[in-house]
């Protein structure tokens, strides 16, 4: 469903991404792990069509995001790391506006909006201006907007940042349900090892713009030759060296 081929990105002399190759199957929850500055957000922004790659391609259900952006974006949902929205619209108006961008109209859209507002526990705030929402509420509204048009794939940047435990559990449940029953592929970046271990079918580890390992928790464990099932220990075994110490330290401190 999602295909990333030889993806590279340079900012001037800085190599943010280097030859990234990944595939995400329908219904799969794919974790994208790495410390701050590893290139996770850059990858997600390229997938969403907000950044241009220096080389390589991203395909969503076979549509190249650069060559057929409209077709690719029509079946993609995006949740950025910071929920910047139109502050002077209400939650309902925002979802209505977004729905219309995807060609949705009429009573079916209104019904869908109402259902999503309830699902994300925002019904009490549906007619309030977004500027009055808390960070967590904005985050949930963006997630509602990402599944409003029933996408085939969703890319999410740091989904749990700013959510309280109740909100985090709600979002995890919705993502699992989307993947299991609607066969939606979810590409999720995170720097939290717990979230990755709990939710993801497969995990890629990104460090300094390069993918250093991909696989299920078990596969990563085998690659690492570790008896310990803890993802943190797998990292250490798998990659070794000074760089990894730094990575582990960063991951530990971000928890």
């Amino acid at each position: 469903m999602i295909e990333i081929v030889h993806l590279s990105k340079r900012y001037g002399s800085f190599q943010a991404l280097e030859d990234v190759n990944l595939t995400v199957q329908p219904g799969e929850i794919f974790g994208f792990l790495g410390p701050n500055g590893a290139g996770k957000t850059t990858t997600i922004r390229i997938m969403a069509g907000l950044l241009r790659p220096t080389s390589g391609t991203v395909k969503i259900a076979g549509f190249d995001i650069r060559r057929s952006p409209e077709a690719a974006k029509a079946i993609l949902g995006v949740v950025p790391d910071r929920p910047f929205l139109y502050e002077k619209l209400t939650g309902t108006e925002f979802l209505r506006f977004l729905g219309s961008l995807y060609g949705l109209h009429g009573p079916s859209l209104e019904g869908e909006i109402l259902a999503l507002m309830e699902l994300f526990e925002l019904e009490e705030w549906k007619d309030e201006l977004i500027e009055n929402y808390s960070h967590g509420m904005k985050q949930r509204l963006v997630m509602a907007s990402a599944i409003l048009h029933r996408p085939k794939a969703i890319v999410v940047d740091e989904p749990m940042v700013g959510l309280d435990p109740r909100g985090a559990r709600l979002v995890k449940g919705i993502f699992r349900e989307q993947a299991a029953s609607s066969r939606v592929s979810i590409f999720m970046s995170t720097h939290s090892l717990e979230v990755a271990q709990e939710m993801c079918d497969r995990i890629a580890i990104l460090q300094r713009g390069r993918v250093i390992a991909v696989g299920t928790s078990d596969e990563l464990q085998r690659m690492a030759g570790s008896s310990d099932r803890d993802l943190e220990s797998i990292f250490l075994r798998l990659t070794g060296g000074e760089d990894v110490q730094e990575l582990i330290h960063a991951l530990r401190s971000s928890r």
Binding site: A48, L50, E70, K73, V78
Partner: protein, 582 residues
């Protein structure tokens, strides 16, 4: 709230001992210095252009005032009196502007600035915070007045042959003159935030400020201060002198600074030292009182400014109805975007309140035409009326461009940080940009058409001129709008805090220069055919074939210019927007 207050009061003991507030200014100083010393080429070009424009403006102000003062000097007996009156009016205007500008700046520096949360969490004393932020406020709100005031003060010194004491007195009097309105502005803002949440306070202030500006502008226009230099307009000499000598209030600091410099400039009796002492002692007293006020109420105001973020706003059903009606003429696929923009426009006072300015501009514009004494002119009034209608085209174009720089140029930038929503949606960038174009074009055409039709009606011009003017201005609006939307996409400012700042940046300035050039080009290209028609009528001769050919060539060139002004910026803007990385 109480925590901040208590810490501030406890901290004030330590702040008496030294200038800790200077340390709080360090990040501001470092970032200002880096911004000035930026090595980025684009940034340098911008700085150079801004500096160049500043110099031109500075030189024009100098030249303009030079002419006025030299003219005043030539008027016997009242010349000096007029110059003095003008100086006192300048100080009064500066003072009023400074108070308002300080109130607005204080809201940002004391309540909305991003560094406040960090600073308030440190053990820095509240009094030091007050002083550091006071310095920031004075600097950012007064530099404009200083920059454009300097040529005026210099001209006065040069024209009236003032000695070094005049310049010294000015140097000594200006700092307290800037500090007094700053202390007042900060105090007013602190009181306001104790009444309203900070966000609301800003909305209210913007509206009040615009009303104030509009009122002042309309008042000056209708009072016609230029009558002061035309004594015949007064019923008698006595009433003229009375109008001239009417003093400003003796308790106004603008009057004090006037009293400091005028005896050293003109041959007036006065006591500059006394008034200089008044300025300094008042500034010092206001600073101390301001510090004490800050310790008492700043904490509460800050706390309320945080609550403001959760204040509930109600939706207006009326606004929804208007918007639904307004989007009907647009194509189906553009309606969501137009509707969204219209709703945000109606709900955001920083955007709609600029309409007040527009209203004032239109009223004054039309008033000027109604007041023109065309019939009393010594030349053929038919000729004059049509000539004026032709010049009016250029003027109307300029007004439309000034409106466009505020409403059309920011169209893309207004998407702000939420632009990712559109960019990650399947709506093509082309539709986004053209949506912005069409939604700006119709209101602008309406305004341009109204301006030209109404002013031509007041001038009672010929049907030929009416048709030509309306046709030209409507077609020019395509160019003005295309240029605005396209340039707005080429120079977007997604991260500005205040939307009014979008048009005051580098891109806005370039847009204005190009728009004025475009309007000038249109007027020039149309001048020849219009001249030929007028000339033929004046000489009572029919038009020749070569004259028809010249007219056709001019109109062809005119249409090409209009097409280029509309098409090229849109094309470049689209390419820039498509390539833009978010």
């Amino acid at each position: 709230m109480s925590e901040v207050q208590v810490r501030g009061q406890a901290g004030s003991v330590s702040s008496v001992l030294g200038g800790d507030w200077l340390r709080l200014l360090r990040p501001w100083w470092l970032s200002s210095r880096r911004r000035l010393a930026s090595r980025d080429r684009r940034e340098r070009i911008r700085s150079a252009v801004f500096l160049g424009m500043g110099c031109v403006f500075w030189a024009l102000t100098f030249w303009g005032f030079w002419r006025v003062l030299v003219y005043f000097q030539g008027i016997e007996s009242v010349g000096e009196l007029l110059a003095a009156k003008l100086l006192s009016m300048i100080f009064l205007t500066f003072f009023a502007l400074l108070i308002f500008s300080n109130v607005v700046t204080a809201l940002s520096t004391y309540f909305l600035s991003d560094d406040l949360e960090l600073l308030l969490a440190t053990p820095a004393a509240l009094l030091d915070l007050y002083r550091a932020k006071f310095f920031e406020t004075v600097t950012s709100s007064s530099w404009m007045v200083l920059l454009f005031g300097t040529p005026v003060f210099l001209v006065y010194g040069v024209v009236f042959g003032a000695g070094p004491l005049y310049y010294l007195a000015l140097l000594l009097a200006l700092p307290p003159f800037l500090m007094i309105p700053a202390a007042m502005g900060v105090a007013i803002m602190m009181l306001l935030t104790n009444i309203f949440p900070a966000r609301r306070a800003r909305d209210i202030l913007i509206v009040i400020g615009l009303l104030f500006g509009v009122g002042l502008y309309v008042l000056i226009r209708f009072l016609q201060p230029e009558r002061l230099v035309n004594p015949e307009a007064f019923s008698g000499v006595l009433s003229y002198f009375a109008a001239l000598k009417a003093p400003s209030h003796p308790l106004l600091p603008s009057q004090w600074i006037y009293q400091v410099v005028s005896p050293l400039l003109l041959r007036f009796q006065g006591d500059p030292v006394f008034f200089l002492a008044m300025l300094w002692s008042t500034a010092a007293a206001f600073l101390i009182l301001g510090g004490s006020l800050a310790q008492r109420i700043y904490g509460q105001g800050w706390s309320r400014s945080q609550e403001g973020k959760k204040a509930r706003f109600s939706r207006s059903a009326m606004a929804d109805f208007v918007v639904r009606f307004l989007v009907l003429p647009y194509p189906e696929r553009m309606r969501p975007l137009v509707k969204k923009d219209a709703m945000i426009f109606l709900r955001d006072p920083t955007q709609w309140s600029q309409l007040l300015l527009l209203g004032a501009l239109v009223v004054v514009y039309l008033y000027n035409f109604s007041a023109l004494p065309v019939e009393q002119a010594p030349i053929d009034s038919w000729y004059l009326q049509n000539l004026l209608a032709f010049l009016n085209l250029g003027l109307a174009g300029f007004v439309v461009a000034s409106v466009a720089v505020r409403f059309v140029f920011p169209a893309v930038s207004l998407e702000g940080k939420a632009f990712w929503v559109l960019r990650s949606s399947p709506m093509p960038v082309r539709d986004i940009l053209w949506g912005k174009f069409w939604s700006s074009l119709f209101p602008l055409m309406l305004l341009a058409g109204f301006l030209v039709v109404a002013s031509n009606y007041l001038l009672r011009v010929s049907t030929f001129m009416m048709i030509l003017s309306v046709g030209t201005i409507l077609l020019s609006t395509f160019g003005i709008t295309g240029l605005g939307v396209g340039m707005g996409a080429l120079y977007p400012r997604f991260h500005v805090e205040n939307v009014a700042h979008i048009s005051s940046g580098f891109g806005g300035m370039i847009y204005m220069i190009l728009a004025i050039g475009f309007i000038g080009g249109v007027v020039l290209l149309e001048a020849l055919p219009v001249y030929l028609v007028f000339h033929a009528r004046f000489m009572r001769q029919p038009l020749h074939l070569w004259e028809y050919a010249t007219m056709a060539a001019s109109f062809l060139l005119l249409l090409s210019l209009m097409g280029a002004a509309f098409w090229i910026p849109m094309k470049k803007g689209l390419a820039a927007l498509e390539e833009m990385e978010l």
